[in-house]
């Protein structure tokens, strides 16, 4: 069976209306290049928002003789040329906005071909601010295993994105901030 026809899993976990009292002082996201197991981090937390549990599985799957040391690059702003049209994308909820962005910016185009899966999550920072992530995994690439987008969204009548960042999960290792 061709990968093209394999089922693509998309998980949309929209966290709405349950911001923690100290949401303004949300805990920092996981450190890049962390090798601590991530899968056990509880859901519905800012810390869990950006966790890519597939990294744990990758680390355990790599034969020792390959010498790979998988790591994750730091978040960096997405080049503005890749975000053309983002100002026109609005939605009534941050979850809908995130999904619309993934479609309109072509992030989802890789599914079924270049990447295996895409997971989306949203964390409500407060009533008018939210952070969403689009986690893509299973790139058919010798150095990059996954790509994540992080979108900062704000309610201004409708929900709009104001900052978009990305990072990569590197199968072999991180070198000077990029996958080797």
């Amino acid at each position: 069976m061709s990968n093209r026809f394999l089922l693509v899993f998309g998980v949309l976990l929209v966290a709405h209306g349950c911001a923690a009292p100290d949401a303004e002082r949300a805990p920092p996201a996981q450190a890049a290049d962390s090798v601590q197991p991530q899968a056990a981090i509880a859901q519905w937390s800012r810390e869990a928002l950006e966790v890519q549990p597939r990294m744990d599985a990758l680390r355990s799957a790599i034969p020792a003789d390959l010498g790979y040391t998988p790591g994750t690059t730091q978040w960096v702003a997405v080049d503005s040329t890749s975000l053309i049209g983002i100002d026109t994308v609005t939605a009534d909820t941050p979850g809908a906005l995130l999904s619309a962005l993934a479609m309109s910016l072509g992030w989802a185009d890789v599914l079924g071909d270049a990447a295996w899966e895409q997971t989306t999550r949203v964390w409500m920072q407060d009533d008018v601010q939210a952070v969403g992530v689009v986690l893509q995994w299973g790139f058919q690439d010798d150095s990059v295993a996954g790509r994540d987008f992080r979108v900062h969204m704000r309610l201004d009548g409708v929900w709009r994105a104001h900052t978009v960042e990305q990072r990569f999960h590197c199968a072999r290792r991180v070198t000077d901030g990029e996958c080797a």
């Binding site: 069976m1 061709s2 990968n3 799957a61 790599i62 034969p63 003789d65 390959l66 010498g67 790979y68 040391t69 690059t73 890789v110 071909d113 270049a114 990447a115 790139f139 058919q140 690439d141 010798d142 150095s143 990059v144 790509r147 990569f168 590197c170 072999r172 290792r173 070198t175 000077d176 990029e178 996958c179 080797a180």
Partner: protein, 195 residues
């Protein structure tokens, strides 16, 4: 059921590789260009004797059983040999944007830090240039169509490392093609002038 496309798992000298490729037929899939990678890990230092048959089997197991891919890169090239991994007549897995349309060549070495111009790196380069020249000639590709993996806009990475300079590789391929096939077609200046 596994969709694994299998591996060839054989190593060739440059001349043996040229003969091998002349026996191949690209009926069901024909690549449009070549994508150049480096392994980064292992580096040249980590493989002092280059690749072995066991390394090919280990890579096959990783791609097939762990990554669940249907194929891997087409060639692994070290300072001694050209290893054919995924059959050259089927699409491979190496660059997400180009897997369906390009051959993938993995050069042993970490050319972010290791030399590509001297020592073992230079020999890897020579073997790679020879392999690309063979494939370019047989498939009728434009040498300038070759890409390096870091040009894939879908992902950001340092593959191959900065010591691999694309234009120099292309020039070396073109020079080798002239050396190999320069006598195939008379140069214009050798043709009789017409009145």
């Amino acid at each position: 059921m596994s969709n694994w496309k299998g591996i060839v798992g054989r190593s060739f000298t440059t001349s043996e590789f040229d003969r091998y490729c002349h026996e191949l037929e690209w009926h069901t899939w024909r690549p449009s260009f070549i994508v150049l990678h480096n392994t980064a890990i292992p580096s040249l230092a980590q493989r002092p004797n280059g690749f072995t048959q066991q390394h090919m089997r280990n890579l096959e197991a990783f791609y097939r059983d762990k990554q669940k891919w249907r194929a891997g890169p087409h060639l692994f090239i070290d300072d001694r040999n050209i290893w054919v991994f995924t059959p050259l007549t089927v699409s491979g897995t190496h660059s997400p944007s180009w897997n369906k349309i390009a051959l993938g060549i993995e050069m042993l070495g970490d050319y972010e830090t290791e030399s590509f111009d001297t020592g073992r790196g230079a020999q890897v380069r020579a073997n790679t240039v020879a392999a690309i020249a063979t494939l370019t000639a047989i498939l009728g590709l434009d040498p300038e169509s070759m890409k390096v993996h870091r040009e894939d806009q879908l992902t950001t990475h340092k593959c191959p490392g900065k010591n691999v300079r694309k234009l120099e590789v292309i020039q070396a391929v073109q020079d080798l093609l002239v050396e190999r096939h320069g006598g195939d077609h008379p140069a214009d200046e050798d043709l009789p002038l017409e009145d």
